[in-house]
Amino acid sequence: MSWNDQQLIYISVEGKKISGFAGENLLEVINREGFEVPYLCHHPGLPAYGACRLCTIQIQTNGKTSLVASCTYPLREEELEVFPHTEEVWELRQMIIKLLLAQSPKAEIIQNLARQYRVEMTAQPENESEFVAGTKTTEALQEHQEKCILCGRCVRACGKLLGNNAISFASRGINRHVTPPLAEPPEACTGCGACFHVCPTGAIKMQMENNSLKIEPWQAEVNLFTCPGCGKQHFPKKNIQEVHSRINIDYKPDHDFAEANSLAELCPACRRKHTLAQGLASKTITKGMENIL
């Protein structure tokens, strides 16, 4: 279905009529109109999840009023009135932020929310459960735990988006944590860094070191590939291999396959130079345009 076939849905938010497409989630639709509903576990590039509950709003439909998580609520044909910032909603968000602040006091995004919602710090209770997850703790793990809010963005990015499943949730309840399988360096990690990029709290660290890229606290370490153009180390090797294999799957007869593969190996700077040179040679790019590129 192309986008202009999509069904338009009209809803009312605090009395203002706005529209979105059927199937879109309410959170994105109302925030597009500037209603500033806060959220943590949602990410526009990832499947909806509904874990942090910060995006909870009040809705009225069929004469019934209820509180719903807006990130998992799909737009559909129905009379819908939305109130994103009622007193009840505000109080709920305050409690959620309070709980998160106790859990992850070092996360900047939570500290900012606490300021915005005027929430004060409470102490984090001891883990009183009978069994405690994770017997080994490293410094990296501890640092991670002070920030991680278990929103699951990293898990979804790695699993649902990329199909790598190098990390996942383990244990139930308050022992829930994100970990590579068996808490060992994850074989499946390609070093793409998606987890690092989607994490809202900075609980994941990614560093280039010597010939490798390290992602903590997963203990992931992948070798880097040397750019055939400039000799600099850039992408993780496994990433390039993956790009190669995807190119091969998408192989089309009229496509310059070798060309695509060798392009994928260049670092971003060299690739730009290469494209420019080619464009100039084939006159698809004229002098003067090079500044823009």
Binding site: A51, T56, E91
Partner: protein, 619 residues
Amino acid sequence: MVKLKTPQELENLRASLQKQLKYSAKTISICYGSSCKASGAEEVITAIKNELEKNNLETNLERIIKETGCHGFCEQGPLVLIKPQNIFYCRVKPEDASRIVKKSIIKNEIIADLLFQDPQNENIFTTEEEIPFYKKQTRLLMQHNSDIDPRRLEDYLAQGGYSALNKVLTQNTPEEILEKVKSSGLRGRGGAGFPTGQKWESCRQAESEIKYLICNADEGDPGCFQDASLVEGNPHQVLEGMILGAYAVGITTGYIYIRYEYPVAVRNFREAIEQARDYGLLGENILDSGFSFDVQVKRGGGAFVCGESSALIASLEGRPGEPRDKYVRNTKKGLWGKPTLLNNVKTLASVPLIVEKGSDWFRQFGTSSSPGTMIFSLTGKIKHTGLVEIPMGISMHSLIWDIGGGIRNDKPLKAVQTGGPSGGCIPAANIDLPLDYEHLSNAGSMLGSGGMIVMDENTCMVDVARYFLSFTQQESCGKCVPCREGGKHLLHTLNKITRGEGQITDLTLIREISEAMQKGALCNLGRQAPNPVLTTLHYFENEYHRHIMDQKCPAGVCRHLISFYISTEDCTGCGKCMDVCPEEAIRGEKREPHHILQGECNRCGICQEVCPENAISKG
């Protein structure tokens, strides 16, 4: 076994089975439910079998002995019934086997000392029907549990089973069945009480070639085994309900999701499916009607939350058993994204009865908004524990006193927890509350899966709240913040109060966190987890205050808030307490009064139990 090809063939088979039953000699029905098994039913069965062999009755073994599902009066197990008279023997031991066979089977004698004697008035009862525990019940779902060997489809047929299906396939359209279930007013027995007919209709209306039916037999409430008693004890009734549901809604594939800890239920249901297929009652073209439906057994994920519908579906799909928001209902988009009808075991087991006897018949039981019966699991400080089926709307008082025999040791009742760990505590003052969906939820509790824990005056309500919350906390999947983090803080606060470290402001915190969980948690596990806390706080606030302000636990339960004392007058210095004290906290010379070093004492209370002079008191 011959495949039945037409409805007439089924009726012919039934007629011959019923004839056999009528002319067959006595049978011994032995409860093989989990509780009777735990108290030695297996040994009793072996002993009776041996005895039958000794008396050359072994050729008829299968006819004479029936290992059945739960009979309900678990506390009196192992239970043995002599049919057709229904002579009720309880607490049977293997040594009794020879008497049972020689006297009650070969001859017509009744063994007086095996009969049930009411401890209250010492009345002795011969048959099951006469015993007050059974007499006051209305057994619709559990009616045939003691007549049926769950591993024999023929037994179910002989009791009238599959006749609803048979009639429907020849005489009714799916719409007519749907209409019947709708007008019966049946509501979901899995906890939420959603109108079953409405759910079926919504699934029927969903546009899709493929739809699924799931029977929820995950039964995770601690102390509940109602669903087990049906799936284990009368699997064909559940299966028939599933087939009828599938027919009414237009479904060809079904699953039953059985709790991980129920291997017998899994075995019995698998066998039931195979037998039904062999007879042509399940599978392709059922009884030549053109309607096809088949069922597979799936074992549960081993977590309480897996019983929640969206978590169950995730688990069936092979994903972690975590709930999701259900703004789009399962009846529109469920298993593998297809319209899915999910019902509890008891809901589905009610369907054959409704279809066979009509919705008016069903509506004569229960109340107008909660028709039918409910099975409760009576536990706690009550005289008679077990499974009890009663019409909805009966008062809690009647259930506890008329059927349950009252409070153990005739102590005063303090409160009743209904609906399992997600339910609430109802105080003794509200004992006349009718047991139905509305009344219980208005009281801050719920009907839930029918758990009922009776508590006497020796129960500390703060401790009760703490106990149930620690269960839901352990079982929380941890996905959403209100349940995972809110539950953690709530439990921590309650722990503090039971240790005497609470502050009066903690009560405000408890209410605030609870409200956030009720309003914000993703699934009902988190939304309902505060119920025990809020109800105890509502009805027994004073008890919370005593813990906080006076550092006293009025019921003498919270260990940090009690002390043990030895009375110098009564103590003879025998030294028994000294020997058992795990902390070596008791001092004293032989034959001189002893005393307890309070600083060392961990308040386990063993000393009080062993003291022959009753010289140790708690305060």
